[in-house]
């Protein structure tokens, strides 16, 4: 058995961290824009959980890398090609149905991923996962309730929820693509092969889709590439907003 390439471990941590970080950034857009005040608060809290998970993972990635980069350096000073998140989380979500369809997918994915990572041989990763798995259970529950309420709601809300699901579904498969991953990391018990999570994640999502009287979209998967730094056009705008303050005022503190 060959031992994993040193950067492979860092890349894996960045993949898990960047999904949470970028998801948090998109969720933050909803604050003051959600359909009701309680939802502003809910999405802010979910975003905060995601940000907290990302911070712990980025700090750890920086330590494993050993080049002195902090969580802030990794969040604010990396360029687009160095981000490892999937396309699912980076695209704009200005439709509430899309936001809930996406949150359902992300939370279902993270529920199974974090549950599996509790057994990682990377003790810090296991600790972060053990905490996060309980938080994303609430996210999954929250998104699931909205998808059911809108899907099994009025004729109009049903149509829009179905359209939202159709729009997000092509980006689901990228989560299960482990081709970016050094197989030695899986063999060492650090990482989880994403392909093994496909069945349980889909079954979690489909249970909600069925209860919501929606149809599982029959669509071809979109072209991915996020795990190797190839992103959609919208990623650049997201990073410009997220990194602007730090890059314009280096070293600024509150």
């Amino acid at each position: 058995m060959s031992s994993p390439h040193p950067t492979a471990h860092v890349d894996y941590l960045l993949a898990v961290a960047d999904d949470a970080l970028v998801n948090a950034q998109r969720l933050g857009w909803w604050i003051s824009r959600a359909p009701q005040l309680e939802e502003d608060v809910a999405l802010a809290n979910i975003g905060l959980d995601q940000l907290g998970q990302a911070r712990a993972l980025l700090a750890h990635a920086g330590q494993v890398e050993g080049a002195g980069r902090s969580e802030d350096d990794l969040a604010y000073l990396r360029d687009e090609r160095d981000f490892r998140n999937v396309h699912l989380v980076e695209r704009e979500q200005t439709d509430f149905g899309v936001a809930m369809a996406r949150l359902l997918m992300v939370a279902a994915w993270q529920s199974h991923l974090y549950a599996a990572l509790r057994g990682s041989t990377d003790a810090t990763l296991a600790a972060v996962a053990a905490k996060a798995v309980k938080e994303v259970a609430y996210h999954l529950d929250h998104a699931g309730r909205w998808v059911v309420r809108l899907g099994d709601g009025t004729e109009e809300s049903h149509l829009r929820m179905q359209a939202a699901l159709d729009a997000e579904w092509p980006h689901l498969e990228e989560l299960f693509d482990g081709s970016f991953l050094d197989p030695a990391l899986v063999a060492d018990g650090v990482a989880v092969d994403p392909a093994t999570l496909r069945e349980p994640v889909l079954s979690t999502i489909l249970a909600v889709v069925e209860e919501a009287t929606l149809a599982a979209p029959r669509v071809r998967p979109a072209v991915g590439g996020g795990r190797t730094g190839r992103h959609t056009e919208q990623m650049g705008y997201l990073l410009a907003e997220m990194q602007h303050l730090t890059r314009s005022h280096p070293g600024a503190t509150w």
Binding site: E38, V41, N45, G52, A127, A132, E135, A137, Y138, D141
Partner: protein, 161 residues
Amino acid sequence: MVTRTRSRAWTVAAAVPDPEIPVVTIEDLGILRDVTEDDVGRVHVQITPTYSGCPAMEAIRNDLVEQLSDEGYRQVEVEFVLAPAWTTDWMTDEGRAKLEEYGVAPPAARAAGVTPLTLSVRCPQCGSPDTRESSRFGSTACKSLWICNACREPFDHFKAI
């Protein structure tokens, strides 16, 4: 399991209030994990976050440094520990009672394994079990928003996690 010797430094650290719910201390909440001190006045404190994104952690760190420095400890180190992950089971009975008196329904003590998302919650105002959840997410990450059907008052519930 950490053995908690009740040193003077522990007593000082244990009295630090939670910045978001100041009626309870960090000891009541189970956030304070360990306090060690040596002969020359150096203190090492371990605390664990309730939620990954809990914004109160920095404030708690600053309060610990300030309180312990005021008591004459010259070097105070505060460490965030992630494992084992915090659970509401670590909240003390005294902490639960203080929360309820303050108007926050405390988390249910739970059986191992399952997170009880749908257990009924008793109204901290009138004691009625006839309550409903209004929002799964409340004023802070650790609380959800409830309404009492009996007395019609809204209240916060500290979520079991």
